[in-house]
Point group: C2
Chain length 432, copies 2
């Protein structure tokens, strides 16, 4: 018996997982490669960054998700380059994987628009580590303020700047306002956390620029009600360890800054030999394939494609639909390669952004919602899509508890810096 | 009105928290200092290390625990030295705190018995970071084995050595056996996790050396039944990145090694000017005070004291009782300093060690239990003592889920090394 055709999927995000699932009945060997062992439910990552959820509530081992799919192998490895001519993926450590079909779903990372030197001063939010680092900085800022005697320094510790008012920035700013106004309200003796200043900066003319203008307005009103200071048309010209400099010369003294402004596609796209757009995304055919290489599909945040004359946005539903499309396409071509593929069609189910407790906006095309109803819709959709039965239950418990008590469950300051502090002391110990 | 007397407590572990609680009605200002923002339920830390629980399930912000105790202030700071003559605690950053009463509950850390160079090759288990590092290494070992083609290397990735068969070592070894035999059983395609070799090394003649010999025997039998290889009388002479060398010349090729062998007291004890024992613990009076300084109490793992002719062990109940004693003592002395203190009396409620699913040993003096009954007792005691209502509920949910499904909820590979891997790749990205 000849060896089964080999389908390699790069990336275990929404796109990669949906592609693997769509191939579950295919007569093929499927290998899913990811440099992390877990699938991450990124839409809820801001809740880990603001101490509401635990990392494992929104992450599941990819291996575990695919355990019952016997034709799939999961490999913890980093795909460093694709060689389309040789039909090979080059992995870290010098290993290679040959493929017959390739689905590239390597996603995107932060972009500082040419200012990579800002990254240490304003971390972005893409990975579990990013979220824990932001959580550490936010919680530590209140601790430092409690200890600080100088009024100006205390104020800088109590000022939080979020750069970029897309969905992530809006969600982060709203959650920070809730943390300071409710969660920490009674925990300190020398400061009043409710006096914390949360500043949301947006370069464009309104928050949530991809939403209809009336929803942007409603979102801004809800943010202000929560206590967030919104500045639109604010161009950031410098970020350093003390604060943020704006284009109009104003300066914000803020010890905590978070980057929510831009993303750029994975560098893996460059090795495919296809044209890229300005954000580094691969310009694919209407069938999501690389021009001249119909055996390579590119999906999710890494793909630049239009549908119905509009660009498909870099959101989770688009990645899921692209993954399912590519998986089904390969499954069909494995059986019969003669019939041409229908082009990919993106079904826009609408957009949802949450702002805080009972506050959100939703754009379902003709139906636009805001306030409690939008928030309830947001809750429902996110619970439904959370992968893994157990996570759903635990997240529900956490959220119910948080809603009733205003508390947050994961208020831990952990990580490299704290460990270093501990280490410095232990090194000091007597030779036993 | 004169300022209230100042009671400083160093350490937010069991000892420090119980001391603070016992002072809740005292007319005093209480400051609790800890270098971490969270109280850690250390008896369950091994469950974080073996992916069963989340960090925040067993940790609660100290500030949050004491939020309702209005006479208490919590400070995130590191006590670097005590100056008993000046009645001052020196903090990091040059700050100082004057005290009228001082309760030192700074605990203990790992000891490598003069072989600190082993630490990177065999991390111990004292902090959340330690637990996450061990979790990362254990889960990563199976991933590496899945990728490895060389049989000997694969075997080394699949060999786990735990050094020291005290309660922590026994619990870790048992949990590792369960992870490999049950949790991961069906997740891999190239390896069978059940073939993993778990080796528990003990220098003494039996596991759980502080327990009665018949319970040690039962624990060893239960460990073997779970698939753990127990080697007693095994002296470790070298640990490096490839494995462990034993005194009899034998060598264990193991890519994952965990240290559960020894602890040493916090170096803070040295600055108290009191005699120390061999493990660096402060030899205190029967009233848990520093000789010549009746205003300084030392409790928990940092204190060396006898009770009824037997040394008080370094376990959680002893720290709780010592903390409550010191807190009550200060509260009484604040009102009436003329009556001498009764000496501290340790009430030994017994010892419990869990080995795995339905397997444990318990020593309640005349009553000795093993197997399912001991395990049920262990479960009950640990749930009762877990600080914070929410944590109890969540841990129960996690455990019930794990018991029914054999799954573990926190199987994430995160941390410095993974982040570095991701970073290396991102640095490679195009200048946008």
């Amino acid at each position: 018996m000849a060896e089964l055709p080999h389908v390699v999927i790069i990336g275990g995000g929404f796109g990669g997982l949906y592609a693997a699932r769509a191939l579950r009945k295919a007569k093929a060997r499927i290998t899913l490669i990811d440099r992390r062992n877990h699938h991450l439910f990124q839409p809820l990552l801001y809740q880990v960054a603001t101490a509401a959820l635990n990392p494992s509530d929104i992450a599941a081992p990819i291996r575990s998700v695919l355990r019952r799919q016997k034709n799939a192998t999961v490999l913890l490895a980093e795909a460093q380059r694709v060689d389309p001519a040789a039909k090979k993926v080059l992995l870290d450590g010098g290993d290679q994987l040959s493929y017959d079909w390739l689905i590239v779903a390597a996603g995107a990372t932060h972009s500082y628009f040419g200012h990579d030197e800002w990254e240490p001063f304003a971390p972005g939010l893409k990975t579990i580590e990013d979220a824990l680092e932001i959580r550490r900085r936010v919680l530590f800022a209140f601790e430092a303020a409690e200890r600080e005697r100088d009024a100006a320094s205390r104020k800088a510790w109590m000022t939080f700047v979020v750069v970029g008012a897309g969905p992530t920035g809006v969600e982060l700013a709203g959650a920070l306002a809730e943390v300071s106004r409710h969660t920490l309200a009674r925990d300190f003796r020398h400061i009043d956390p409710a006096e914390a200043r949360i500043v949301l900066l947006e370069g464009g003319p309104r928050v949530l620029p991809t939403y209809p203008p009336d929803l942007s307005q409603k979102a801004e009103a809800q943010l202000r009600k929560l206590g967030v200071e919104v500045q639109v048309g604010a161009k950031v010209t410098l970020i350093d360890e003390a604060g943020v400099q704006l284009g109009d010369g104003a300066r914000l003294d803020a010890r905590t800054r978070i980057w929510g402004a831009g993303v750029t596609a994975s560098p893996l796209g460059r090795s495919l030999g296809a044209p890229l757009d300005r954000a580094g995304r691969v310009k694919v055919t209407p069938r999501l394939t690389v021009p001249g290489h119909e055996e390579i599909f590119v999906i999710g945040d890494l793909a630049a494609v239009e549908c119905g004359g509009k660009p498909v946005p870099g959101v989770a539903p688009a990645a899921m639909q692209g993954g399912a499309y590519a998986g089904r396409a390969v499954a069909r071509l494995l059986v019969d390669a003669s019939k041409p593929l229908e082009p990919f069609r993106y079904w826009d189910k609408g957009s949802l952004a949450t702002i805080g407790r009972s506050a959100a906006v939703a754009d379902f095309g003709r139906v636009k919602l805001s306030g409690f109803i939008a928030w309830a819709a947001w809750l429902l959709v996110h619970i439904l899509y959370l992968i893994g039965f157990r996570n759903r239950i635990l997240v529900l418990v956490e959220w119910a508890w948080a809603y009733v008590t205003f508390q947050r469950g994961a208020r831990l300051i952990t990580g490299a810096e704290q460990a270093r502090l501990a280490e410095r002391r232990d090194r000091d110990k007597p030779a036993a």
